[in-house]
């Protein structure tokens, strides 16, 4: 069974190359920061208004930022045809996807957690009391975005107009995640916070379904 050891080796490579260049993390952080700050300046929301629309704004910013982050995921592998080298070396091509989606989830989660304090201050939303629930939502939603986004990145990398194609494919597909995570976050930001289990369950099911699909059909996405 070489899937998990191979995925671990590749995850190490993804982390090493990203922390060496910091291209994706910096770009994504700055993008989300700009969106959060611009919206705050434009609407200057009160606390009650923030509770209503800030979760939607937050997840929209995360979703757009993730389309930026996921774009180079497979494009980078085309530069020196390293994807072919990986395909020649790994027995199970799912290891390539597993490593990439794990790295993308990690990067996205890190970005979200880094920007959460700033978001809480600018929109006057208390997050400390529900932090553990927020982390769970962030994780499930980021995982879902990464699974679907990594698969679509593999498809779009081989197409013409690849830079435009990924957001066009990704954003509609991830609308259910946007709606569910916004609803769960809104419930957590409520004056009397509560956990919306239906939304959390939906995010978990989305992740399992898309991960299974990627495991079954991922190999075909890498073929020339």
């Amino acid at each position: 069974m070489s899937l998990l050891p191979n995925a671990a080796v590749l995850l190490g490579k993804e982390l090493r190359t990203e922390f060496r260049s910091r291209e994706l993390l910096t770009t994504t952080l700055i993008f989300i920061l700009i969106v959060i700050v611009l919206f705050s300046f434009t609407f200057d929301p009160t606390s009650d208004e923030s509770r209503r629309f800030a979760p939607g704004l937050l997840w929209l910013a995360f979703l757009f930022a993730s389309s930026l982050m996921l774009q180079p995921c497979f494009l980078r592998e085309q530069h020196n045809d390293t994807l072919s080298a990986l395909r020649l070396s790994v027995r199970d091509p799912f290891a390539i996807f597993l490593a990439k989606l794990a790295a993308n989830t990690l990067f996205l989660l890190l970005t979200e957690l880094l920007l959460l304090p700033l978001f809480a201050i600018m929109y006057n939303v208390p997050v400390l009391s529900v932090l553990h629930w927020l982390v769970l939502v962030f994780f499930l939603a980021s995982l879902g975005i990464s699974i679907a986004g990594t698969a679509l990145s593999a498809i779009s990398a081989q197409a013409r107009m690849r830079e435009l194609l990924l957001p066009l494919l990704m954003l509609p597909l991830l609308t259910p995640i946007l709606v569910a995570s916004t609803e769960v976050t809104k419930a957590l930001f409520d004056r009397t916070p509560y956990v919306q289990w239906k939304g959390i369950g939906f995010l978990a099911v989305f992740d399992v379904v898309f991960l299974t699909a990627l495991w079954l059909f991922g190999e075909y996405l890498l073929e020339e």
Binding site: H79, N80, L88, S89, V90
Partner: protein, 261 residues
């Protein structure tokens, strides 16, 4: 007991001491691979409307060094990528045996050197080789990687990022990567592209040693060259079909120079 470097199967006792690190536990005199032949059986490859390969049938004996010649777009790269199992043929079969209908073997994994270097610019030469050695799940990766880096002359630059390397140095890393798992079959797609004369000479020497070690080598080339002269057989492709195939002198040369055979 010594692990032998890929191209040192025939090096003498003194050379073994210098070149071979104690890794795999197999003596220098016994190769870690058995010579393997290939058989392309009626291979077609279609990309949309374009038929890149049409009814290619070739039997390649173990240890042969085959040079594929042909104009741009003649199907050389596609054929090599089919042999590497990077491209699935639209029709036909590929067997790693000369015998027809021997069944497809998933165990034989050729080493592949392409136009592109197939290594990461953001990693060092050593990190690149360690990455692929670990993916291959090779034993004692560090020793193996060190030995290969010494052999390709990059040991002193092992900690440098590949993006700081010249084209020739990148090609050396690419060759080291392809040889990590000691493949019995080596596929070289225009390996001399972008190399200076010194680089071409180094590459020719490396290919000669690999050929003499008993590996089956398939390489695509443009025109006559120091490297082409290492071939024991020349095959010319035109519009995806095999149009000439020879092992003898004058015809061999005409195939490489695109003259009428």
């Amino acid at each position: 007991m010594y692990f032998s470097l890929p191209w040192d199967r025939h090096c003498g006792p003194s050379a073994s001491v210098v070149c071979c690190a104690p890794v795999r536990g197999s003596p220098v005199t016994s190769p870690a691979f058995s010579p393997v032949g290939l058989r392309f059986e009626n291979i077609d490859k279609r990309y949309g409307r374009l038929l890149a390969l049409r009814r290619v049938t070739l039997a390649i004996a173990p240890g042969e060094c085959v040079v594929f010649a042909g104009r741009n777009g003649s199907g050389k790269t596609t054929l090599l990528r089919v042999a590497a199992r990077l491209v699935r043929p639209s029709k036909g079969t590929l067997n790693f045996s000369e015998e027809p209908h021997a069944g497809e073997s998933q165990e034989i994994r050729p080493g592949f050197v392409a136009h592109a270097t197939m290594v990461y610019d953001e990693l060092t030469a050593e990190e690149n080789l360690l990455l692929f050695a670990r993916l291959e799940r090779l034993p004692q990766t560090e020793h193996r990687v060190d030995a290969l880096l010494r052999e390709v002359g990059l040991y002193d630059r092992r900690a440098s990022l590949v993006r700081t390397f010249s084209r020739g140095m990148r090609q050396r890393v690419a060759i080291a990567r392809a040889l990590l798992h000691e493949p019995a079959v080596l596929l070289l797609d225009e390996p001399a592209t972008g190399l200076d004369p010194q680089g071409v000479t180094w590459l020719a020497q490396a290919i000669r040693r690999l050929r003499d070690s008993g590996r089956t080598i398939l390489m695509s080339l443009h025109g006559e060259s120091e490297i082409a002269s290492l071939g024991t057989r020349a095959v010319r492709l035109d519009a995806g079909s095999v149009v000439a195939d020879t092992r003898t002198g004058a015809t061999f040369r005409s195939i490489l120079t695109f003259a009428d055979a």
